[in-house]
């Protein structure tokens, strides 16, 4: 724009505006506007198609009776699965990120980071396949053990599933999909810790762990929080892995190891799509709109935290 439009302070030699410039700048502008339109379109079209879903005939929502009691267990299931995933993924992500940024020998750190990024490249449907056919049967001894020894905690109230297709398995699969994202961001934040802070801590006689606690963690806190929230956004929106691992029933339960598990919004859409009538389709689109709103809020919060962190760093 600065060249094609007349510049604010009038200069002696006003730049020549050629038709080529106009066309090119116009195309670039249109592309940017297209993105705005596309995003507005997402809201508008989902709203238009989903609106009838808010007040469909009661039979559509069976076994629930109206939209909110239909979507309630799904929202609960979505959040439960995401929280289980994060509880598992966050400690590992921070550990691996620290490993890459501070513990691994420098020569192998870059290849290791690449390997972790490969985890993110594996398509989610392959994770689902692996989760359903390999991981689920393999977790049976674990959930039996959890039921026998920790059955008094509501999460492990049982009765333990015989197929292994439980909320816990879905959470583990989601966790494996979240780890690369949170690791990639945390590792970058850890690596940006000012070298002088670290060396000052070491010079005062701190061990490596004390140095990390004193210099790295305080510096990286907001970055790690936003990494976790971006991971949460991924876990909330993930469809196939959950749809392929869970056989869902519309219940609200904290029980992670039984055969009755709530579905998530996304997996519910995927598994009910084939046999959906237009009414049901509208209901599913409306739940999609709810999911969009939730992930939007989470991502927005994450960006806000990042923005705040950046301001602090540049100060």
């Amino acid at each position: 724009m600065s060249v094609t439009a007349p510049p604010q302070p009038p200069r002696a030699d006003r730049p020549v505006v050629r038709p080529g410039d106009r066309i090119f700048a116009g195309t670039a502008r249109v592309a940017a506007l297209t993105i705005m339109l596309a995003l507005a379109g997402v809201f508008v079209f989902l709203a238009i198609e989903g609106f009838p879903g808010l007040s469909a005939p009661e039979a559509i929502y069976a076994p629930a009776t109206d939209f909110w009691s239909y979507v309630g267990p799904l929202v609960f299931g979505t959040i439960l699965a995401a929280v289980v995933a994060l509880v598992i993924a966050v400690p590992f992500s921070i550990g691996v990120a620290l490993f890459i940024s501070h513990y691994a020998p420098p020569r192998v750190a870059a290849p290791i980071a690449y390997v972790i990024d490969l985890l993110a490249a594996v398509p989610s449907v392959v994770y689902g396949l692996w989760g359903g056919l390999a991981l689920a049967p393999a977790t049976r001894p674990l959930i039996d053990w959890l039921y026998d020894n920790l059955g008094f905690i509501p999460f492990f109230a049982g009765p333990p599933s015989v197929t292994g297709r439980t909320m816990l398995t879905a959470g583990i699969v989601l966790a494996i999909m979240v780890v690369p994202i949170t690791t990639a961001i945390s590792r970058e934040v850890f690596a940006q810790t000012p070298r002088l802070h670290e060396e000052a801590a070491m010079a005062l006689g701190a061990t490596r762990w004390e140095m990390i606690r004193l210099a790295v963690f305080p510096y990286a806190r907001s970055g790690v929080i936003s990494a976790v929230m971006l991971g949460l956004g991924r876990a909330l929106g993930e469809t196939m892995a959950v749809a392929m691992v869970l056989s869902a029933t519309p219940v609200v339960t904290l029980n992670l190891i039984s055969d009755t598990n709530p579905a998530t919004i996304a997996s519910n859409i995927a598994s009910n799509y084939k046999e959906a009538s237009p009414d049901k389709q509208a209901v599913l689109i409306a739940t999609g709109l709810v999911l969009f709103a939730v992930t939007f809020a989470v991502n927005f919060a994450a960006r806000w935290v990042i923005g705040r962190g950046e301001k602090k760093v540049t100060r």
Binding site: S2, T4, R18, G20, D21, I23, F24, A25, T27, A28, R29, A31, A32, I35, M36, A38, G41, F45, E49, G95, V96, L98, F99, Y103, A104, I112, I116, L119, V122, P123, V125, V126, Y127, W130, A134, L135, A138, P141, V179, T207, R208, W209, E210, L236, G237, T239, M240, M244, A266, I269, A270, Q281, L284, I285, G288, L291, T295, F296, N299, F300
Partner: protein, 366 residues
């Protein structure tokens, strides 16, 4: 040194405190060997799962070394050693699923892949047999169409952000919206495309092109981000040199800026393609599933590899009477998964090679 002045017990005490005992260098290896030995012995004797044995070895290691350190070196060193063990253990544990998954996919997939598997579709296939031909073509067509939509939009948006819109309100809004788009769940993108085409064509519509629209919604933000980053790396000296020769801005962009950044941009585009090629949910919702080859993006359902895996997994068929083992669909799902992973990995490698060969000759942060 302290023996030189045996008459002053105070100085002796101080030097003794300064020289704190340290674990020898081979202590880590020793503890690791002992932990592995104990765990291996128990695994063999009690007939455990080797995986459980490995976990026990890691736990023994993570407890044993800090304990020894606590006894010999004191609390602070023990905490340090504990943290080190935990960080290493975290890394080891994260590798387990990756290795397990790749191993399973390769092992089960190789057994299925054959000339027939790659060149037959699923028409009239009951039981074993059949292949991924229709899904392969569907994936190629849908992904190509998605790339054709998103590369021009993404590239021109990046050009706008870097070259034209610097600091303008539209640029700020666009940057924010691209951030928002990055976070759109893939199934919502699918629902968006579905709503769009349902509004135009009526509720029963399922076409491959809808899948392409959904995928491009997921692909555009990745393309914009990487292209923007690459364009910003182009030194402004180059631009100014071109302006000084009297070359118009648009030709400067086309002839100077874009060629300089081309390697990075191609890398970003290839990575974006490898990201969307494995997307299942949006395609399931708007492109549907079918058993036959469909070359027309604008008419009828179109099968793609990820959806193929999902449908083979969710309706795997029945095991023939009198036979043991998994239903035939599972084998096909593993085979398709292997093909899909190979495609994704090849794309990633290509992107990496392009990135290193055509990297702009500027200082880049790692």
């Amino acid at each position: 040194m302290s023996t030189m002045t045996p008459l002053e017990p105070d100085s002796f005490a101080i030097t003794a405190n300064l020289a704190q005992p340290r674990l020898p260098k081979w202590a880590v290896l020793l503890v690791a060997a002992i932990s592995l030995g104990i765990a291996g012995l128990l695994t063999l004797l009690l007939g455990w799962n080797p995986f459980a044995g490995l976990v026990l070895a890691i736990v023994l290691m993570a407890v044993g070394l800090p304990l020894w350190s606590l006894l010999l070196e004191g609390k602070r060193s023990a905490a340090d050693r504990l943290a080190t063990s935990l960080v290493w253990a975290a890394f080891g544990v994260v590798l387990v699923p990756l290795v397990w998954l790749i191993w399973l996919v390769v092992k089960n997939g190789i057994a299925v892949i054959s000339g027939e598997f790659l060149t037959y579709d699923m028409r009239n296939v009951v039981g074993a047999g059949g292949g991924i031909y229709h899904a392969l073509w569907g994936t190629i067509l849908v992904t190509t169409a998605a790339a054709l939509i998103s590369i021009p939009i993404g590239l021109f948006t990046a050009i706008y952000l870097v070259e034209y819109g610097r600091g303008s309100r539209l640029a700020r809004v666009t940057t924010f919206l691209v951030d928002v788009m990055t976070g759109i769940p893939s199934i919502v993108a699918g629902l968006f495309a579905l709503s769009l085409f349902v509004l135009i064509f009526g509720p029963a519509i399922r076409i491959g092109f809808g899948g392409a629209v959904a995928l491009s919604l997921l692909m555009i933000p990745t393309v914009v981000r990487s292209a923007e980053e690459m364009l910003r790396l182009v030194p402004s000296d180059l631009r100014e040199a071109s302006y000084a020769l009297g070359i118009p801005k648009w030709r400067t962009i086309v002839k100077v800026v874009l060629p300089t950044a081309m390697g990075g941009i191609i890398t970003g585009v290839v990575l974006a393609i490898s990201r969307v090629i494995g997307e299942t949910a949006p395609l399931l919702v708007v492109a549907g599933a079918t058993d036959t080859v469909n070359f027309n993006l604008f008419d009828g359902r179109m099968m793609t590899l990820p959806v193929y895996i999902f449908s083979q997994y969710s309706s795997p068929g029945v095991v023939p009477v009198g036979m043991e083992g998994d239903p035939p669909g599972y084998a096909r799902a593993w085979g398709a998964a292997l093909v899909l992973i190979v495609i994704v990995m090849v794309l990633n490698l290509v992107a990496r090679v392009i990135g290193t060969y055509f990297a702009p000759k500027t200082e880049r942060r790692r």
